[in-house]
Symmetry: C2
Subunit: 358 residues, 2 copies
């Protein structure tokens, strides 16, 4: 198989944040991108931001069409694109895949040139103003071929994903929808549940709100109209997750009723375990660091000297913690560094008189 | 009433993040801070970071004692401090107040020199390594006097809050505990509920995790042992919130079962309303901006020139959005700016030939 190449001419339908950003990335890669939007002003702004041109394309020259419109409009926009652009692969960036595909099957169209996809990036800002070519860099972008998708069309979508700098993951449509129910739609509803609870909290109590509450509720600020469409399109999968959470909430309530029985500790510990399962920001495995442990001396300015030494050695400290030996009443500073930097740092410290643990 | 003044000598018991940061702020304000910790290594590191000295104080000279130890240890540490430092106001920084106060009443001690408090800052990092004098700057710090608290002691705690750069809020103990159940303990459990659900999600699905999931689950990564103590100390208030959420979750499930009936939209909209009730980051009222609206021209480079003009005018744009007139097929760029900057910006734009909406 040859390396996928970016298309020479593409059409992006819908110039919100995601569509305009795809336009920017494809344009930067040398593709001529034609922008279309029901709101001409959005297309004009996207064009200004480098996403492409508002000039109409020659349909026969278009090899890729990206439908970046709200979920409800997708089946019709995709069907029209398949008919208007006879040589083009058509993809979409909708966040739920099965319903759109079912609607397209029902239309009786030949779907070999259609391959769904879903970039895991975006934000609650829906307009093109914040569009940028690197929106998808190092993000996951799911490609969801169906049983009739042509291999060349799958390759064309893969080329677009690559041109956007994203990491492709190929998934079955139903598997994709189950995954987003779990990692996107359920978290959204949990955030909404917490945020809507605040409507009944006295203002004075909200003065005590900290970063934790803001983090938990941030995504609940997204456009309700859009989310009705997303959740409605994936309601079966979402309901299954919600019912599991309902059972789990019953358990949490029982645990808080008897906080000292160990059940509450088990629930909280399970939360920490769940977080650990989320891959690193770029989907990479967690890097294992080596810990260099030195005894903390009881001498003014000692830590300052230690960090100066670390800086001189050109070592990047990823994490710092203190370990304490209660029996000996001494403490140790544990510096987490890249494995290849540990031996050099250890020698430098010993050379400067530090007591490094073996 | 005279302006509260920072104490000349203080004792901080417990040199984790919060205790060490209070030490840093008081030291920076000219107070001699004596640090005490069961783990001498933590006290030594805190001293290195500028939080104070590990030298023992002369008890008679101490005018303020801050107990910054885990919740379970608070009653005993506070009681001992009241006995050891006969001229000092004693406060604590525990996140739940009623249980500690009840335990102190039971001890039969004279509590006029005790005033509880609770700074709304900190993080899941529990050691002193990340301590800093400005941890509490512009954060809310609740002071919870009881019926026997001496006015001079309340003033002493207010002076400490001021020395730390925080904004004081005075609340009744029970009111405080209800407030933190709502804005801190419930969000924590919602985050845990979502995070623990991830333990059952296939790894491949977690590749699709985005920033939303990370935000919702972040605080679930906090120390489970500490949170068993916090939730256990406030279980009645927390249970009342959890049961309300349980009812609300039933409603959300019904809404997702019939997404098109308007119930789901109502739930999602309530979430947005809830977020809007959270005060701005510094607890200030939301600033009202004035919008300057210009027609978007269909000319290459026009927006670039517009933003250059905005920059030259020295105007700070707080928000940008696009408004579209579907009938006329024209768009408008709406720039939100400080009210006092709007007239100048408008004149400059008109002067440069832009069409500005009245």
């Amino acid at each position: 198989m040859t390396e996928p190449t970016a298309p020479s001419a593409a059409v992006v339908i819908g110039t919100g944040l995601v569509g305009a950003s795809i336009g920017c990335a494809l344009t930067a890669g040398g593709t001529t991108v034609h922008l279309r939007d029901q709101k001409m002003s959005h297309a004009l702004v996207a064009a200004e931001l480098g996403a492409g041109t508002v000039d109409p394309p020659a349909p026969a020259e278009v090899s890729l069409v990206v439908a970046a419109v709200p979920p409800r409009a997708l089946p019709q926009v995709i069907a029209q694109a398949l008919e208007s652009y006879r040589h083009a692969t058509v993809t979409d960036v909708g966040s739920v895949k099965a319903g759109v595909l079912a609607a397209l099957w029902d239309s009786g169209l030949d779907l070999d040139r259609y391959v769904g996809s879903h970039p895991m990036a975006g934000s609650q800002h829906s307009g093109p103003m914040t569009a940028r070519a690197d929106l998808f860099r190092d993000r996951t972008w799911v490609i969801t071929p169906h049983r009739r998708s042509a291999a060349t069309s799958v390759a064309a979508v893969a080329a677009m994903v690559q041109a956007c700098g994203a990491r492709q993951v190929v998934m079955d449509v139903d598997d994709h929808d189950a995954a987003v129910a779990r990692v996107s739609h359920l978290p959204h509803l949990m955030s909404v549940l917490m945020a809507s609870h605040l409507t009944g909290v006295p203002s004075e109590h909200l003065l005590l709100a900290g970063q934790g509450l803001r983090d938990v509720t941030r995504i609940a600020g997204s456009d309700p109209e859009l989310w009705v469409q997303i959740l409605g399109a994936n309601s079966a999968a979402v309901l299954s997750e919600l019912r599991a959470v309902q059972d789990q909430l019953d358990q949490v309530i029982k645990a808080v009723e008897s906080p000292e029985t160990g059940q509450l500790l088990a629930q909280l510990t399970r939360g920490v375990e769940g977080i650990r399962r989320i891959p690193g920001k770029h989907g990479s495995a967690q890097v294992a660091y080596t810990r260099v442990v030195v005894e903390i001396p009881d001498a003014p300015g000692a830590l300052g000297r230690l960090f100066a030494l670390v800086g001189e050695a050109g070592v990047n400290v990823e994490d710092i913690s203190i370990e304490h030996d209660q029996a000996r009443q001494v403490g140790y500073l544990s510096l987490s560094v890249a494995p290849e930097q540990a031996p050099g740092l250890t020698s430098a410290m010993i050379g400067h008189g530090w007591s490094v643990q073996a």
